[in-house]
């Protein structure tokens, strides 16, 4: 059971799955780090993005990696609009209201998808869907390798945006000290919306990376988002490094425990880990004090 021929593929697969978890978690942690809200609509938005990628392929014949070029800005705009025109105004600044509004949005989006497209599970066919590439003793599925590389790339891009661009600096300023940023002339509502948009854009990329090897149905996003929540809570709310490292870590743990425990127990395991981290250290290993 512990031979390298079995362990190495399991670990590599875990890393690749973990990369996608990390990307989803990245969006979540970004939104929390700046807006200080837990986006309960994250799962539904991921599902919507997956449907978008699916239909781009089904109706427009677009390869998911190509579709990403269009879907990502689309979802950025969607996220921007949601925060600017729905969540921000509706919540009147109160924490409790933000909870309810994002929950309401989640319910609307998920059930709108259910109503329009029914509960069927669908998949797409891409020519490289079953190709593999050999790394040592492991045969790794091409879509998943692509996903891993893409996530690293996106993380680097995001990091560069945060560090070097004016928008990134504005975002960091608002995250650190909202009042001060406002006094310095930064349009906080705009920055909030941009951050939310970046979060949903991450979901769009994640969706396009997932769809070649995964299925889509109205609740598909939830499974990922739950894991993303676990990653964020584990790695620390608001910590980008935590999201990346946490995501990879969770991916590997899931893969290894799948070797011994099987599927559904694995799901419960993640929830239990999530609950335990919440109860014991909600600010996570890298995160700000709760």
């Amino acid at each position: 059971m512990l031979s390298p021929a079995i362990l190495i593929p399991a670990i590599l697969n875990g890393l690749m799955t973990g990369a996608v978890y990390a990307l989803v978690a990245l969006g979540l942690t970004l939104i929390y780090g700046v807006l200080h809200i837990i986006n309960f609509a994250h799962g539904a938005l991921l599902t919507a993005a997956m449907f978008a990628a699916f239909f781009a392929n089904r109706w427009l014949g677009l390869d998911p990696y190509v579709a990403a070029v269009f879907i990502t800005p689309l979802f950025f705009a969607l996220g921007y609009a949601l925060q600017r025109f729905v969540i921000g105004p509706a919540a009147h600044g109160e924490d409790r209201n933000i909870l309810l509004v994002t929950l309401g949005l989640a319910v609307v989006i998920e059930n709108a998808l259910l109503y329009c497209f029914r509960a069927d599970t669908r998949t797409i066919d891409v020519p490289y869907g079953f190709d593999t590439v050999q790394v040592g003793p492991a045969f790794l599925a091409v879509p998943r390798v692509v996903a891993f590389v893409a996530v690293i790339a996106v993380t680097v891009v995001l990091w560069l945006i945060m560090r070097l661009s004016d928008t990134g600096k504005a975002i960091r300023a608002v995250a650190k000290e909202k009042l001060g940023a406002e006094l310095a002339g930064i349009d906080v509502a705009h920055v909030y919306a941009v951050t939310f948009g970046l979060g949903t854009a991450c979901l769009a990329v994640a969706a396009c990376l997932l769809i070649p090897s995964y299925y889509v149905n109205p609740t598909a996003g939830n499974a990922f988002v739950l894991i993303a929540f676990t990653v964020v809570v584990l790695g620390g709310m608001g910590s980008v490094a935590g999201a990346l490292i946490g995501g990879l870590f969770v991916g590997v743990v899931e893969s290894l425990s799948g070797l011994w425990l099987g599927e559904s127990l694995g799901q419960i395991g993640i929830f239990v880990m999530f609950i335990l981290v919440l109860l014991l250290r909600p600010s996570g290993l890298f995160g700000e004090r709760a």
């Binding site: 309960f40 059930n111 109503y115 419960i268 929830f271 909600p282």
Partner: protein, 333 residues
């Protein structure tokens, strides 16, 4: 009239009106609608105690609903226990689950979004466990045997069911009314408004919150027990699914959080909306929840104190305009 009696009056009026319905109509459609609405009112009242009065928003009240439902069902189906004691035990089981989750969450100091997250997680864990555990029938669910006698808490006609749920709702209304006027209630509201200030006044905030959660869970569990007896079938998705967690919070928020009659008002409105939607757009799955989600966002945005809040604002407006008119009249006289 003392202040106490004055406020019991709305409850009595509401219950009396509802009690009169079966005397006025024999329509199964109306009765079924009201039974479901009252069920949601009961479940929502449980949420209201913790969320409205206590200020702790739970996104996982399904945990208590489902526990009540499963305990009632399993005790009858697998252990041959009579429905009535099973019902009582279902409520106790729900309360126990509430106490445990509350103790874990509140002693860890979880508040706000983190608290909502952890309640969500607990409900999901229970759902997954119920969907695979043999005792709950796993994916197939649990079916209570049809036994149309009052001894088995089952009835041929809907009317007795209607009165059972009405009695439960009435009890919950009175319970909340009593809590509102008790020391526990005053402490609970203080904790909601400002936990530190309450602690400085001698309130053991953690204990108060756990107590509220336990009581809240018991009320919601009663709803679950009733559901099991009314529909005679439950599975993991019904018992512990997000649908009931959402309806549990939607009714009080629409009707008015932190008020006695809020959940009842809200449940009637929400369920009416659901029925109206079905009439207009058919019975496709998901549409009713789309409406509910939208209502939630709209209420939070435009009427955060719910219907009860709107009514009080309206009354205050009328009183103010009347007072403004009165001096003018006096001047003329």
């Amino acid at each position: 009239m003392t202040a106490q009696t004055k406020s019991l009056l709305p409850i009595l009026v509401a219950v009396a009106l509802l009690a009169a319905v079966p005397l006025v109509t024999a329509s199964n459609v109306v009765l079924n609608f009201l039974v479901v609405a009252l069920l949601i009112a009961l479940v929502g009242q449980g949420w209201n105690l913790l969320g409205g009065y206590g200020g702790q928003y739970s996104f996982g009240h399904a945990a208590f609903f489902g526990t009540g439902a499963y305990v009632v069902a399993i005790l009858q189906v697998r252990y041959g226990l009579n429905a009535w004691p099973a019902f009582a035990l279902g409520i106790l089981a729900g309360a126990a689950v509430g106490g445990v989750i509350g103790a874990l969450a509140f002693r860890s100091g979880l508040r706000g979004s983190y608290f909502a997250l952890v309640t969500l997680a607990f409900a999901e864990v229970l759902r997954i466990v119920a969907s695979v555990a043999p005792v709950t029938g796993a994916g197939v669910g649990t079916l209570i045997k049809l036994d149309l006698r009052w001894q088995a808490l089952q009835f041929q006609s809907r009317v007795p069911f209607y009165y059972v749920i009405l009695v439960l709702v009435a009890l919950s209304l009175v319970l909340i009314h009593v809590v509102e006027r008790s020391r526990f209630g005053a402490w609970l509201v203080a904790v909601r408004e400002n936990e530190d200030a309450a602690a400085a006044l001698g309130v053991d905030a953690t204990l108060v919150k756990i107590g509220a959660m336990t009581l809240s869970a018991a009320i919601t569990a009663a709803g679950g027990c009733f559901y099991a007896q009314y529909y005679l079938f439950i599975d993991a998705g019904i018992a512990y699914g997000p649908w009931i967690s959402i309806e549990a919070l939607l009714a009080p928020i629409v009707g008015g959080v932190g008020t006695v009659l809020g959940p009842l008002l809200g449940a009637l409105v929400v369920k009416s909306l659901g029925e109206a939607t079905k009439l207009v757009a058919g019975d496709a799955p998901g549409l009713d929840l789309v409406i509910y989600g939208s209502v939630l966002v709209l209420v939070v945005a435009f009427a955060p104190r719910g219907i009860a809040g709107l009514l009080t604002d309206l009354l205050r407006l009328r009183r103010r305009t009347r007072r403004a008119e009165a001096p003018a009249e006096a001047g003329r006289a």
